[in-house]
Amino acid sequence: MNRFLLPLSIFVVVVGFLAVGLTLNPREIPSPLVGKSAPDFSLPQLHDQGKVFSSNELTGKVWLLNFWASWCSGCKTEHPVLMQLAQSGEVPIYGMDYKDQREEALAWLRRWGNPYPVTAVDESGRVGINYGVYGVPETYVIDKQGVIRYKQIGPLDDDVVAKKILPLVKELQAK
């Protein structure tokens, strides 16, 4: 090979990577927790502070865990999608009110509707850290054994629900 072609070949490879790079989102960080057990938590419930909601109550069920907050604009975006999914009854969505004011969170749910059977309160954000949350909304798909199977970073939309969440949920429920 002509050694003078070397710079060109290196450049072609770099341009190839840059082109692929254009299609990627550098701010989306895949979670190392997918395929691992979901961290346990026991937290007070939003609607009834006296009651505790713990993750091991849900063993044997396939469920979604949705981190949200009343201050988060992306949560407003995905909210109709969650409402629709909750109404379809395919899979229960449990809420995690992340670093929020209780009154505001309750008002938010009253105003926009409540897709969650139960919402837990993560006031300090500690459970969020255990789940590797770095920006709300984030949604986890957790299987019957309590293993995280999928993590959605950012708002859910109809496309993700139809193409990723629902097929996965059905597959996990069938197991």
């Binding site: 254009l22 990627l24 701010r27």
Partner: protein, 663 residues
């Protein structure tokens, strides 16, 4: 109306660029003098047109024309005039106009200082630059038009990002772009020479001053940016190895290598294929930087708002310009002659060794910057590459380069003698070593890195002194002043630039070794002591700025009971974007900076306050300025001034025949 004139000027400029990028190059290929002679008026016309467009945008900002989308997006009626004008390059579209404008400035400069070039060469150079500017004009007119209208007009603008409302914004981008874009001249020279097949010593001689001037601008531009980050971001850091910073640093490294390699090619006619590749690389890395900053493929503190469409355009442009150049290179380079000979140990070989080290360092920066992208593209996970990586890899690669800097200038051209060199340098080495080992003890703390940094800096200065002494001994003239004046300016420039590096190294070493910081909670009247200075907090008052409100703290600083200075750090709130800015107060000095930044207000008028004592930190930027000054001195050398005036292209004929004989 005025914005439409600007837009129209850009369209005309594009037409001119198309003509300039095609006909003169074709004319040079077929030997048509009429076509070739079109290059000069076309370049000047294009300069004028883009200047008009630039002024139109400036006018829209000056009169607060919020019916122009870009003006409405990056300024506000409350924004002071000088920042409104700096807002021209405050975001993507306008900064692209600045890029193009500066490119035409360089083109104009080429038309002014190319009387001595052969007609074919000048036609090709301006043609290549016309092609580059064609790409940028097309880019602006298709997906990043700064003159786009907003109908109905906005009542008021969304304001310039408060981070950018700073004197640094007025100076840093134009300087940086002068550097980036300046490499387009060396690039155009290289492509022109490849096209014409006359890659020779004359080509190197012509390219040298242009490369050096661009390098000077880039050096100053990077230093300004670093200084700006130092006082504006409020963290007291001066270099973060952020992708955007790296994007400006890579062309600098390539340009530095190019300056040294051009010296070998100019002097010995050797390594032309390498030098020409470096010229292509320096400008390619400038273009790559443009892509990285605007495409959103990497996250950065300084990135522009991004848009994949724009990313795709720049990438395509990048592929055409750089890919085309490298293809031309692969085709033409094998036919280039070898040039004169020199020994394995010689000034030439040391300059080239410096090139190898600089390129390896450049490789580390490039790899570190793009590696996260590579892994992500291959779906191998996401990683971050940050300062710890660069510190660990870049510094070991630069250390031998700095050491070589002391030896290289003393080695003889063609054939040097190592034992003899060692004899001449033994005192410099001894003095540097002893001083570097002892000095940190005197200063109160010894670490290996402190000693190493000081060793390199002192080594560069002492060897430069030996070099000067030997040089003066060989110059005729009775008085010392006469002999000093007889030393060529390019030589002084080299010594000065190298000493600039030494000053820079001292700054980095001292600030890393001896800086101290304190986070304190300060009530009114309380004091904190750092680096021997006592700061007394006298409370914070609310003040009104032109377009912000602020809490301004007052700190009385004293040393050994005597008043030293009063410092006023601010915490500003810009209402339009509802952004809080920390405006640090800095007391600069030759030997140390005092740096105070306000954190958060606490109860009872107390504040959390961060205090830094930064010894020698200004040497970092001072070193850069000295380097640039060295470059300016080198360019003002007699031989270049002669070259500008000379009319007949006598050199290429001679060197071409000689080159062929050798090859």
């Amino acid at each position: 109306m005025i914005p439409e004139i600007g837009q129209f000027a850009l369209i005309l400029a594009l037409c001119v660029a198309i003509v300039q990028g095609s006909l003169p190059i074709y004319g040079a290929a077929v030997g048509n003098s009429a076509l070739m002679s079109m290059a000069k008026p076309a370049a000047r016309g294009q300069f004028l047109l883009v200047l008009i467009a630039f002024c139109c945008l400036g006018y829209a900002f000056a009169v607060k024309d919020f019916s122009v989308l870009y003006v409405a997006a990056t300024s506000n009626s409350q924004l002071p005039l000088h920042y409104r004008l700096a807002a021209i390059w405050g975001a993507h579209e306008g900064s692209l106009l600045l890029w193009t404008f500066i490119l035409t400035v360089w083109m104009f400069a080429v038309t002014l200082f190319s009387a001595h070039l052969p007609e074919t060469m000048r036609a090709r150079i301006l043609g290549v630059m016309g092609l580059v500017s064609m790409g940028f004009l097309l880019f602006m007119l298709s997906v990043s038009n700064p003159f786009e209208r907003l109908i109905p007009a906005a009542a008021d603008g969304r304001d310039l990002n408060p981070l950018l409302q700073d004197p640094g914004m007025v100076m840093h981008p134009p300087m940086l772009y002068m550097g980036y874009v300046g490499f387009s001249v060396a690039f155009a020279f290289a492509i022109a020479a490849l096209l014409g097949g006359n890659l020779d010593a004359a080509w190197a001689r012509w390219s040298r001053p242009w490369t050096t001037v661009a390098w000077c601008f880039l050096t100053v531009g990077i230093a300004l940016g670093s200084g700006w980050a130092y006082y504006e971001l409020g963290w007291g850091g001066w270099w973060f190895w952020d992708p955007v910073e790296n994007a400006s640093f890579m062309p600098w490294l390539a340009g530095t290598a190019l300056i040294h390699s051009l010296a070998v090619t100019d002097k010995r006619g050797g390594f032309k294929v390498w030098t020409v590749l470096l010229a292509i690389m320096a400008f390619s890395l400038s273009l790559l930087g443009t892509f990285l900053v605007r495409s959103g493929v990497l996250t950065s503190v300084h990135a522009f708002a991004t848009d994949p469409k724009r990313g795709l355009f720049i990438l395509a442009f990048l592929a055409v310009v750089i890919g085309g150049s490298l293809l031309l290179y692969a085709w033409r380079a094998p036919r280039v002659g070898l040039g004169g000979g020199f020994d394995l140990v010689s000034r030439e070989s040391m300059l080239l060794a410096n090139n190898v080290l600089l390129i390896a360092a450049l490789g580390s920066v490039l790899l570190g910057t793009l590696y996260p992208l590579f892994l992500d593209a291959l779906d191998l996970g996401k990683i971050s590459v940050g300062p710890p990586y660069f510190d660990a890899v870049f510094a070991p690669l630069m250390t031998p380069a700095l050491f070589l800097m002391g030896i290289g200038p003393l080695a003889q051209w063609k054939k040097a003698n190592l034992p003899e060199l060692a004899m001449r340098l033994r005192w410099a080495f001894g003095v540097s070593l002893v001083t570097a080992l002892a000095l940190p003890f005197v200063l109160g703390k010894w670490t290996p890195l402190l000693s190493l940094g000081l060793l390199l800096a002192i080594w560069i200065v002492t060897t430069a002194a030996i070099n000067l002494r030997e040089r003066l001994a060989h110059v005729d003239g009775s008085s010392l002043a006469g002999r000093l004046a007889a030393v060529p300016r390019s030589y002084w420039g080299m010594l000065l630039a190298h000493c600039g590096i030494a000053v820079f190294v001292v700054g980095v070493t001292m600030v890393k070794g001896f800086e101290t910081e304190q986070d304190v909670r300060m009530n009114v009247g309380e004091t904190a002591t750092i680096g021997g200075y006592t700061f007394r907090f006298d409370g914070a008052q609310d003040i009104m700025g032109p377009n912000y409100t602020a809490a301004r703290g007052t700190f009385h600083v004293s040393r050994d009971g005597r008043d030293a200075t009063v410092m006023y750090p601010e915490k500003r709130r810009y209402p339009v974007q509802n952004q809080i800015m920390t405006e640090a107060a800095i007391d600069s000095g030759l030997l140390r900076d005092l740096y105070v930044s306000l954190g958060e207000p606490l109860e009872d008028g107390a504040w959390s306050v961060r205090l830094y004592y930064k010894p020698f930190v200004d040497w970092i930027w001072g070193g850069c300025l000295i380097m640039a000054l060295g470059g300016v001195l080198a360019v003002s050398d007699r031989r270049y001034r002669l070259a500008w005036r000379r009319e007949e292209p006598a050199v290429p004929a001679a060197t071409q025949t000689a080159g062929r004989k050798v090859a």
